[in-house]
């Protein structure tokens, strides 16, 4: 199964990387290098290709094939006559890499070539002349390439090709015109930190095997609690695999706080519990209630005003109603930054109600939490400091690579009591260090991915002020978009007024619909506009933005801006593109 132990370093060959039919990584690099100013691009290409001519510009759609990598000659003579060291990956397999004997050299070359592929992708991601996505339908993509898993190993040339192919069909989530999700952008320091995390390849359950990461989690969560406004940053928390799980934690802990016996006895031992959240809140609240044995019927959806904010009087009315039925209200989840409208529930009013009725107040600030970093915008979360728990996803508005979601809890020790099972094979009580750093037993997970390092390193690199600048800029861009379209022909706003977050919700009304009366037929036709424009965007690959219906409102675009690469010109482009793709509808 292993490739021959010798022979993978072939000497004397000059061909390969310069051949236009067989472009190597060098060619990919050369294309990148051409973008450098000051003529260094040509020099680098010359170094890579020797005296061979610079390769023709690639068409851009075919990924270059990885073939062989030419090790730099280190002699002092030019032109030198040394034999060139080539690595022919067609003769190398995974078994030739470390920890194989003599595996260092091919390992370093292989990883460096992977890195070249990644760096090329990174550079392309920010290039507006490249597609956001090279879209293929699922059946096409399944047929276009052989993705099947087999018994026999493939050589490293094939592995490098798979990397290139995978990236060829990937969404460029860092592209300046990718607006499709709440998480967009590709931060370079965050990316570096995530590579390091992969390389460290460890688990968060004990200090023993993740000393630095455990400390960084401690430091970072404390800082986040300080920003929330809990005195001295006291409290508890965890990085969890996404906002839905963070919200589920909040529900779990709130229930335990009120009825600790639920841990042993289950829901049979407690009265019927009721959770309250707005009709615009994230679906994870219901998902969590279903999982935790509370049931979705016990999640009461509170009415929102026209801007998508929870109406406090309706909350109080429903709490009283539930109590009159003999049920026990145990949790109110207010939302700071709803998914579609970007609305902020009135946290102070909610806090007053929670205090009055002694109910756990959770704030789902998965999307809006980032605004706490901005002196200009943090007032929108006034009252968050009165919450018992907060979900805050730095992987959304703060641009940290996926995933990075924190659940912060005001009362220390509750998470541990709620979730601990004292597994003696992990949390030995006779270890030689301070066991308070073995934080794994507060989690629902056993093994837990290291999600903190990318946030910590980005924070070091940007400072809180850097996050602030990013957030202020995104909100300014959203306002720019709003100002352009609010009075522009062919656009209708889903709700009035300046956006509170970066969500801008609107219909594009094609010319043929503008003359119609506001009746059911028009609604029916309007509902088909956004899906068609979106499909065309993806087929052209020019930009991506989300759409959805909500309540009685038919499909509308939800523009969100969290991408640090986006500029005013990209917003202009989006508008032009929507009109270009939708005017015939």
């Amino acid at each position: 199964m292993a490739s021959p132990g010798s022979g993978f370093w072939s000497f004397g060959s000059e061909d390969g990387s310069g051949d236009p039919e067989n472009p190597g990584t060098a060619r990919a690099w050369c294309q990148v290098a051409q973008k450098f100013t000051g003529g260094i691009g040509n020099k680098l290409c010359a170094l890579l290709y020797g005296d061979a001519e610079k390769p023709a510009e690639s068409g851009g759609s075919e990924p270059p094939r990885a073939t062989s990598r030419k090790a730099a000659c280190a002699c002092n003579q030019k032109p030198c006559s040394c034999p060139k060291a080539d690595i022919n990956y067609a003769f190398l397999h995974a078994t030739d890499l470390l920890p194989a004997c003599e595996g260092e050299r091919p390992t370093l070359a292989f990883l460096q070539d992977v890195m070249d592929i990644l760096l090329q992708y990174v550079v392309k991601s920010f290039d507006r002349s490249t597609k956001v996505i090279d879209f293929h339908y699922p059946n096409e993509l399944l047929q276009e390439y052989n993705w099947e898993l087999t018994d026999q190993p493939q050589n490293l040339e094939e592995i490098l090709m798979h990397c290139q192919t995978t990236l060829k069909y990937a969404i460029k989530t860092g592209h300046p015109r990718y607006f499709n999700q709440l998480s967009t952008g590709l931060d370079m320091v965050g990316l570096a930190a995530d590579w390091l995390t992969s390389t460290a390849n460890t688990n968060m359950f004990t200090y023993e095997i993740a000393p630095v990461f455990v400390l960084l989690e401690y430091v970072t969560l404390k800082k986040m609690r300080e920003i929330i406004g809990w005195p001295g940053g006291a409290g508890d928390g965890i990085f969890s695999p996404g906002g839905a799980i963070s919200n589920m934690y909040a529900m779990l802990i709130a229930r335990f706080k009120m009825f600790p016996e639920v841990k042993e006895k289950g829901m049979a031992a407690v009265p019927r519990l009721i959770a309250f959240t707005s009709e615009h809140s994230h679906f994870s609240l219901k998902k969590g209630a279903a999982a935790l044995g509370i049931g979705t019927d016990s999640v009461i959806l509170i009415k929102c005003d026209e801007r998508g904010k929870m109406i406090p009087s309706d909350l109080e009315r429903r709490i009283i109603e539930a109590k009159q039925k003999g049920f026990v209200p145990f949790l109110v989840s207010a939302t700071a930054g709803t998914t579609v409208y970007g609305a902020f529930d009135p946290l102070l009013a909610v806090a007053d109600i929670c205090k009055k009725y002694k109910i756990w107040m959770h704030v789902d600030a998965a999307w809006g939490g980032g605004l706490l970093m901005s002196r200009k915008h943090k007032w929108k979360l006034s009252g968050v400091e009165r919450a018992n728990s907060v979900t805050w996803n730095p992987h959304k508005m703060m641009g940290v690579p996926l995933q990075c979601s924190a659940l912060l809890v005001r009362e220390e020790g509750l998470m541990q009591s709620c979730n601990q099972m004292h597994a003696s094979y992990l949390f030995q009580q006779d270890k030689h260090y301070d066991l308070s750093y073995d934080t794994g037993d507060k989690a629902l997970q056993c093994g837990r991915h290291v999600d903190v390092f990318k946030l910590w390193l980005m924070w070091r690199a940007k400072g809180a002020t850097g996050f602030e600048a990013h957030i202020d800029k995104c909100l300014e861009l959203a306002e720019y978009l709003y100002n352009i379209i609010k009075n522009r022909e062919g656009y209708e706003m889903v709700f009035d007024g300046k956006p509170q977050h970066t969500n801008v919700c609107f219909w594009y009304v094609p010319p043929s619909l503008r003359v119609l009366e506001d009746n059911e037929e028009r609604m029916s036709r309007l509902s088909k506009v956004a899906p068609v424009i979106k499909a065309r965007m993806m087929e052209y690959g020019t930009t991506m933005v989300s759409y959805q219906p909500l309540g009685d409102k038919v499909n509308f675009f939800r523009m969100v801006i969290s991408n640090p690469a986006a500029t005013h010109q990209d917003i202009d482009f989006l508008i032009e593109e929507i009109e270009r793709l939708g005017q015939d509808l």
Copy 2:
């Protein structure tokens, strides 16, 4: 806040990287390069340092400081007189990197320097002369370095230093003598795939934003189901954030299958449900029961034989008992590869009982699932094909980087019915592609990390036969260890007989204890031996192996082997090291 827009490329300086007081990345590379055969190391060093002398060998404990990176000169004259382009990271900030204007050049240099740091770490990880861990107590580590988060940004020189410092104190989980957890080793193809995953930075919820990864998840889960033995690989599944969550999914789905009304009505609407698992099973079953509102009291622990295998007659007895009390048995979780003993429950007998009483059969093969890849060892999981669901963590025995855990379900569609909430902002029903590939609504999570690519790429690179070879080798090494110590003076086996998995459980009995009678005092003293030896291992940094008590058995070592780098010599070393560190106790 941003560094000056110009001036980060300084020309004309020759100093820096060759200065022994101020070693740059070049030096680190040079040390690596020296290990190459054929004299290329010296040539590479010469290239890096020009005519400066090769730097003295590093002491190995201090990480090199990153200072400036010398861009390769691309002229044809040697010795050339071109000004050398240096990047002075002290004048560069994150804001100078992409998507900044003119950000390509510093970005590529920065990411390449990060990569150099990582590659150096990778090479060191496999070097037996380096420490597994440079251990510091939490308070020491907190004081030794400033980890705090501030308002102001740091420059990229500092960021590179943080990367080096973080790795300096990290556990080398790929080190040939790291045996501490079920997940050990550092696979080069898996690492490359994880870097790519970070770079693609997307989410698994829809085909729209993760087309390739969604297809690869489909292909890979199908293959895993085929290997389990479900006809045609039919069924369902998901990659989840760890085995504990996978087990929780199984419990959730089993409950829903029996009482679908639980989703809306909660546990109040269903009778008391009982789950059964062995006393040696993983604590996540109880953790899951607590979270799901079932309660830990409703998890009945079934007795095990002396090898840690569930006793089927006790299972049947407890099921009958529960039914007599009017409770409803809804799940049996058998374990294939227990955490401490590595025991395989008798799956065929368990399957018969589950069939007889119509109970969902789950197999927690988080640790043992890898043995399905081995023709020699897969008989240990006979009966797994009769399970309704299986947890299988490729990040354990198959060496995939953390995290990679799969939950496989025999009945298709059940996960979707159980968990879906139809969020219209994600799962629009009028998209232009086949919506069956939007698999996100079957998950508990909303955003979900891409965990499949590293497994898929490793499978391509190793083939099923490569995984088989790895697993057979690890089991052979475990048997080698067992054969050495079973009759060796000073060792006592925790259970008799050849290990079934790679778990080898034993006491080391220091000379002073060997003469004592088998009484309470001896037990008490013996219980303190493993913790002391372990603490010394960590302080010396020579190796790491786990210990724990279990039931009435005092602290014993649990050796496990999943590390592809481990050899017979490393096993010999472990024994010598235990004796060296423990003989005076």
